[in-house]
């Protein structure tokens, strides 16, 4: 091989590696979630936006399900028969996953959280509250007012 060809291949290889490293933000994440009346373990799953998420649902006692808010995905599992979900976490925020197979009296409250970071909805809402609050505070306290403090009706 000539020197220029080696250089070309090296360059190409480097570019490839660079490209891979740059998109390494999106990982493949795997979670094994155990369901037992009436909680999921782990009960909070944290991933980054863009990650490919794989969840294996195992049941430790009875037939459970998992419905993921926001993504509308569902699976179920009972002892000996696992369930699975695979999706790309493209929506940021905190989503609840709920048990979707009636598993006992507390079934409607069997909930876990999936956090897709960064939690932009939360940040936006907090900013909105603070903005509204500051404007309200400003309008109230800084506005030049001629009126007397209001008296009781």
């Amino acid at each position: 091989m000539s020197e220029s060809q080696v250089a070309l291949r090296l360059g190409f290889g480097l570019a490839l590696l660079c490209g891979l490293a740059c998109s390494a933000g999106a990982e493949e994440r795997f979670f094994e979630v155990r369901a037992k009346r009436f909680a999921f373990t782990p009960h909070v799953l944290t991933v980054n936006r863009g990650d490919t998420v794989r969840i294996r649902l195992l049941s430790e006692d009875v037939h459970h399900g998992m419905y993921l808010d926001g993504y509308g995905l569902q699976t179920s599992a009972y002892p000996g028969h696992d369930g699975g979900l695979r999706f790309v976490a493209d929506k940021p925020g905190r989503f609840s996953f709920r048990c979707s197979v009636t598993c006992g009296e507390f079934h409607p409250y069997m909930i876990g959280h999936l956090r897709v970071e960064p939690n932009t909805p939360f940040h936006l809402l907090v900013l909105a509250v603070l903005a509204v609050g500051l404007i309200g505070w400003g309008v109230a306290t800084l506005r030049r007012q001629q009126e007397e403090p209001s008296h009781d009706r």
Partner: protein, 117 residues
């Protein structure tokens, strides 16, 4: 006002009684083994007479029903739901029925017997 209260109760109960007399011949209650298992555990019927089995799941988990010897069953009966199974037993003997949905750590113990005379 009496109509609203006493009337409602009586009306509902009699409607249900009527419905039951028409609708099914035997009532089977599904409960997981820890809560009492099938009730009644043993059902006795006569050969050749159609059986309408009303299965009521009064539990908080999903159950299922299968009676393989007569090839009938209900894939899943959710909590608070009711299924009706109709068949005519054409052979005499004792035949087991099971729950087919994983409902409890003691799920395999959830079985009963249909006796045909």
């Amino acid at each position: 006002m009496l109509i609203a209260t006493v009337g409602t109760v009586l009306g509902v109960l009699s409607a249900e009684k009527f419905r039951r007399s028409r609708l099914f011949t035997t009532e089977l209650i599904a409960r997981e083994p820890n809560h009492g298992n099938w009730y009644p555990r043993t059902i006795t019927v006569k050969r050749g007479q159609p059986v309408r089995l009303l299965i009521r799941n009064i539990d908080t988990v999903t159950h299922g029903f299968a009676l393989p010897d007569f090839a009938v069953g209900a894939k899943e009966i959710k909590a608070g739901h009711v299924e009706t199974i109709t068949f005519t037993p054409d052979k005499v003997g004792q035949f087991p029925f099971f729950c087919t949905v994983w409902c409890s750590p003691r799920h395999e113990e959830m079985r009963g017997v249909l006796v045909v005379e």
